[in-house]
């Protein structure tokens, strides 16, 4: 599809906003609808759009499979790591109250980190799913 100029121009205009909207959903999830799951999928859909228009090879240059594979694990580790950090600071597993001096601030930080972990894993799994299926080509 890379020779279709309208698609290319529209996609080029669209992708930054898709990614920005994903970040908004990610970090505004405390205040409105949204959170890591939704943000991860929207972020991944930006990459999917890129891969659809410019081809999967170009997309692989932007988001290298090694990076994606690393991020699949990174998100879960960030989530569980936040839980372990709570344990090391003297609380229970996934107890965010002890992360900062003020329990409410600790909750905010914990939720932010945990949602970020969810977002990273979901986005990476979605992109790798797309790579897996779209990368097989016609046999």
């Amino acid at each position: 599809m890379s020779n279709q100029i309208i698609l290319r121009v529209v996609a080029k205009l669209f992708i930054p906003f898709v990614l920005l909207f994903a970040l908004y959903v990610q970090f505004h999830g405390d205040y409105g609808p949204g959170g890591g799951f939704q943000a991860g999928v929207i972020f991944a859909s930006g990459f999917v759009l890129y891969a659809l228009v410019w081809g999967i090879e170009e997309a692989r240059k932007v988001a290298h499979p090694n990076v994606i594979q690393f991020c699949v694990a990174l998100g879960v580790l960030l989530y569980a790591g936040t839980g372990v950090a709570g344990m090391l600071l003297g609380g229970n597993f996934l107890d965010y109250n002890v992360l900062q001096h003020d329990p409410v601030h600790g909750q905010h930080l914990g939720i932010l980190l945990v949602e970020l972990g969810v977002g990273i894993t979901v986005a990476a799994v979605m992109v790798s799913t797309f790579y897996c299926f779209a990368g097989r080509g016609r046999r």
């Binding site: 939704q38 999928v41 969810v118």
Partner: protein, 182 residues
């Protein structure tokens, strides 16, 4: 007024489901299931579950694209059914009937005296603003009170991704047509 939307949406979903079951063209089926996902997202909006609706809309959209990508690897048409058998229909109707029968005992939708609204929900609603201080209570329940569950869900997604990479990992790394030996 809301009931009209409920009936219209559910009717639409039923029509779509029957159409998906009857169609043989895989492209049409994938697009129709995208519509189905949009309908269920609208349904969740009517039920005031905006976070769930958001997830359904986002995942449904990406899933449709991934299914379309998968279509490239397979045929355009589903196989013709050689012999008509009543058993699948009977199984579906029986299961559906059992599920509807199961809902008869459930409390009315939105009933404030339903057991689910008497258990931990009042505690969350009363204490979440002071304890967690996050305006969106869905987030405070999801990420803080029910942090274990969400960790489990994330692990499920992680496991699905790892399984996919193990099964189709060669396509993940190599170019199309290069073969899957690396």
């Amino acid at each position: 007024m809301v009931e009209v939307f409920d009936i219209a949406l559910l009717g639409f979903m039923a029509v779509l489901a029957v159409a998906i079951a009857r169609l043989r063209n895989l492209f049409a089926i994938v697009v129709m299931s995208g519509f189905y996902s949009l309908m269920s997202a609208s349904m969740f909006v009517i039920l005031d579950a905006v976070d769930v609706a958001f997830t359904e809309a986002a995942v449904g959209g990406v899933a449709t694209v991934i299914m379309l990508g998968t279509l490239l690897l397979t045929t355009k048409e589903e196989k013709k059914i050689e012999r008509w058998s009543p058993w699948p229909l009977i199984a579906v109707v029986a299961t559906g009937g059992l599920l509807v029968y199961g809902t008869l005992d459930m409390p009315r939708y939105g009933d404030p005296n339903a057991p689910i609204h008497k258990h931990v929900a009042p505690r969350y609603i009363e204490d979440s603003p002071n304890e967690v201080g996050v305006p969106n209570m869905v987030t405070s329940v999801l990420a803080s009170y029910r942090g274990y569950d969400t960790l489990g869900e994330t692990t499920v997604i992680f496991t699905a991704g790892i399984g996919l990479l193990l099964l189709l990992g060669s396509a993940f790394r190599t170019r199309p047509g290069e073969g899957g030996s690396s």
